[in-house]
């Protein structure tokens, strides 16, 4: 460890302004930040700082996603790990290239994007499709807006939406029948070619034919779907942890789930044969993963707390609308993207209200 510290101290001048390797400074800085963290000190008041930094902040999301990843491996096999490696490598190249071009540090937000992306695509999506999706998401969803913190849309969902529109056949055919008790597909590697496991229709698709899956299977994740979205239980475990650490704001989650419950209940009462019951809506598709891990992305959601409630409820209502009345069986992805689009407006409204109140107070 001392040796490593010395290595960084010794090589730092190479990457400074006039150093030979100045172009690669983001890489060196990223490596040092990864191993040791910042060596910087405060220069004025406040003289001390809170221990939370953005690395830890993003780390919490990855810890919280681990149960969902484990559930995914259990139900759909080891391929998800390969998809994750592809996602990290392809997205990482874009991230590093932009850091070097911009002469800025590599931002930690990418670690979440790279982790989350393979979880929102079907388990046997061709690897090149995964790579194309994550590259598009990082490039168009984030980098063109100026990088982490400046993006309007969630990069994961931008990439996923691109795949849904550009490669519908590859994405739609990738669903897998989940592994059975007790070992699931823990030791299996399901490829796009293994026919026996393929073409498990998702509960949302079956719902269109009036066939509503058993809510317990859906809660545990014993259903077909995108790699990491099926187990509501695993996502709930990580999601509650994330809310408790204050990394995810509970207001957004409560707004979404509450609105889905209320709206789907209303529809179900009017026509139970056509519209699924509220619990089915809650556990189906990517709602839990989206509500806990994607809508709560602080960058693309409103900054004000009241705004987060409104944003959540808007997404929840859109999910039910798209699922029930549009050509798409799943609405979470588009609902969150539309929510992202509305969030600057929502902020504008609540900030204006807040400012008026402040002016009244003096």
């Amino acid at each position: 460890m001392k040796l490593l510290e010395m290595l960084f101290d010794r090589t730092r001048p190479w990457f400074e302004k006039d150093g030979r390797l100045h172009l690669l400074r983001p890489l060196a800085q990223g490596a040092e930040a990864f191993f040791f963290g910042s060596a910087e000190q405060t220069h004025a008041a406040p003289h001390a700082r809170d221990p939370l930094d953005s690395k830890r902040f993003m780390m919490m999301v990855i810890i919280a996603l681990t149960p969902a990843l484990l559930a995914s491996i259990y139900f759909f096999g080891l391929r998800v790990l390969v998809m994750m490696a592809v996602s990290y490598i392809a997205g990482g190249i874009v991230e590093v290239a932009f850091a070097i071009i911009r002469k800025k540090d590599i931002h930690e937000g990418f670690f979440v994007t790279g982790f989350l992306f393979p979880l929102v695509v079907p388990p046997t999506t061709p690897l090149w499709v995964v790579a194309v999706g994550v590259v598009f998401g990082v490039l168009v969803g984030k980098e063109v807006f100026g990088g982490t913190g400046r993006n309007l849309f969630n990069p994961v969902l931008v990439g996923r939406a691109f795949l849904a529109v550009a490669y519908p056949a590859q994405v739609a055919s990738g669903f897998v029948i989940p592994g059975a008790w007790p070992w699931g597909r823990l030791t299996e590697y399901v490829t796009p070619g293994s026919v026996d496991a393929l073409s498990g229709a998702t509960p949302l698709a079956l719902g269109r034919q009036g066939e509503f899956a058993n809510w317990l299977d859906m809660f545990l994740g014993n259903i077909s779907g995108s790699a990491g979205e099926t187990s509501a239980l695993a996502i709930l475990l990580g999601g509650l942890f994330l809310c408790m650490t204050r990394v995810a704001n509970y207001r957004t989650v409560a707004g979404i789930l509450g609105a889905v419950f209320v709206f789907s209940s209303l529809l179900h009462v009017t026509d139970p044969a056509r519209f699924g019951p509220p619990l089915w809506h809650l556990f189906a598709g990517g709602l839990f993963l989206g509500a806990f891990f994607m809508a709560t992305d602080p960058v693309t959601s409103p900054a004000t707390n009241t705004g987060k409630w409104v944003y959540g409820m808007l997404i929840g209502a859109l999910v039910v609308l798209i699922r029930s009345f549009s050509g798409w069986v799943e609405g979470v992805m588009f609902a969150i993207l539309l929510g992202n689009l509305a969030s600057p407006l929502i902020d504008e409204i609540f900030v204006t209200m807040r400012v008026r109140r402040l002016q009244r107070e003096g």
Partner: protein, 460 residues
């Protein structure tokens, strides 16, 4: 009476000054800084080599109503040796000369003048602007904060009151005679014996209103209190803010008519070997004072607390007239491998991202480390939650990035009390406090300077 207060957060740091008050040995040299937080003693009235007596005026701040810098001891003046300081060689303790009693001692004007002449004026500030109040103008109201909640900006209220409870009450009575309307006294809403006794004593007094405040930083801040009490800033109204030591200073100046030549300061922080209170003369050299009182490693000595204080250095070599406490903060000496995946049982965070949330209450030895890389705002909203002024630092940060001064002005940036909590909690390590202060400065310079004065408009 209890008032409604929002935001705030207590930083738990080791090195809380103990209740003991030490008196260090008399120093061999006094170094009086000519500059303190608000005051600049730029008009020096003594010459190099001149012999001065205890209580003599050494210099005045001509920009602040001629507030004097008094000589704390007998001795010989040495100028220009220590830049920005007036040095006194071979200082000796002597009874200070008592100024002749004024003929009209009862009048408020002469009492305020006595406060200026005897060195008690630096203890006063305007509750809204923190400026030095004008001694020519009577005070309309006053807010007294008994506690000090910033770690560890000054002497503990319970230590001051425990030492001189009766002097404090007498000082409070004198303060009432200097103020036209009400004197608000902010008492921590705790069950302690001292707070209970204070509340009981104050409850019967006319024109004094005791207010209970939570023990949460920065609820002792004058402008936070003023806003919660509905004491709005108004043209031509003067509202004083002072702390327990300010009340004791008024008592000393007006009861015993003694100049204020010493300070009771707190010395604390993780770098302090023995956090205590000290009674020292003004100008006590910091290196002599700190010798043996700090642990052996590079330290930053801060005049004031960690959130608002200023690092001492060549610009400040001794105890100044506005020094209330010294915080000793170590510089980081080691870096942890993979710090971001550690359990974090040893670090206390505003968020709950470290396992320390499972531990019972404890204090953390903080350092001057930034503890993270600078990143763009991710909109976590922590700064808004802790803000005691109810403004949105993240929003102002965004507007400052666009140079939208008018919009910053409209979003209430003038309400900022510079408590520093937004910068402290920010996971992207943004210097929000400084950004808001800079924006306010730019607004004053560029926007409000261009606007015609309200009164001028009436004339035209």
């Amino acid at each position: 009476m209890t008032i409604k207060l929002r935001g705030g957060y207590n930083i738990r740091m080791t090195g809380r000054p103990a209740g003991r008050v030490d008196v260090p040995a008399e120093p061999e040299l006094l170094l009086l800084p000519q500059r303190s937080r608000r005051l600049r003693f730029n008009q020096v009235l003594v010459k190099n080599g001149q012999k001065v007596r205890c209580g003599d005026v050494l210099a005045i701040d001509s920009a602040h109503f001629g507030v004097p810098l008094l000589s704390p001891r007998d001795g010989t003046i040495r100028l220009r040796v220590h830049r920005g300081h007036i040095a006194i060689e071979s200082p000796a303790v002597a009874p200070p000369q008592v100024p002749p009693t004024e003929t009209d001692d009862r009048s408020q004007d002469s009492r305020r003048k006595a406060l200026v002449d005897l060195g008690a004026w630096p203890f006063l500030s305007d509750v809204h602007t923190d400026a030095v109040p004008d001694p020519a103008q009577p005070a309309d109201a006053a807010i007294v904060a008994v506690t000090r909640l910033e770690p560890f900006a000054g002497p503990r209220g319970d230590v001051l009151l425990g030492q001189s409870f009766d002097d404090f009450l007498r000082g409070l009575d004198l303060l009432v005679t200097l103020v036209q309307e009400t004197v608000y006294v902010a008492v921590p809403g705790v069950r302690g014996k001292l707070a209970k006794r204070l509340r009981e004593t104050l409850s019967g007094k006319p024109r004094i209103r005791a207010v209970n405040i939570p023990l949460r930083y920065p609820m002792d801040h004058f402008s936070v209190l003023a806003r919660a009490l509905g004491v709005a800033p108004q043209r031509g109204r003067s509202i004083w803010g002072l702390r327990a030591e300010g009340v004791l200073a008024i008592d000393q100046a007006l009861t015993s008519r003694q100049p204020l030549l010493e300070r009771l300061i707190a010395i604390g922080g993780p770098g302090a070997a023995e956090p205590v209170h000290l009674r020292v003369p003004l100008g006590y050299p910091l290196d002599a004072l700190l010798a043996g009182r700090v642990i052996g490693q590079p330290q930053r000595v801060i005049d004031g607390g960690i959130l608002n204080g200023e690092a001492t250095g060549p610009r400040q070599l001794g105890i100044g007239v506005e020094t209330t406490g010294l915080t000793v903060l170590p510089e980081p000496t080691r870096r942890e491998l993979f710090g971001f995946v550690r359990t974090g049982l040893d670090r206390i965070s505003y968020s709950n991202c470290f396992l320390s949330v499972l531990r019972p209450r404890y204090d953390e030895p903080l350092t001057t480390a930034m503890r993270g890389e600078h990143r763009p705002c991710i909109g976590c909203g922590f700064c808004e939650e802790v803000c005691p002024a109810g403004i949105m630092p993240h929003w102002i940060h965004k507007l400052a990035y666009q140079d939208a001064l008018e919009e910053i002005d409209r979003s209430g940036s003038h309400l900022c009390v510079a408590c520093g909590l937004c910068s402290y909690v920010c996971p992207s390590k943004l210097d929000l406090r400084q950004e808001i202060l800079d924006a306010n400065e730019a607004i004053r310079r560029d926007l409000h300077a261009a606007e015609p004065d309200e009164n001028e408009e009436v004339v035209a």
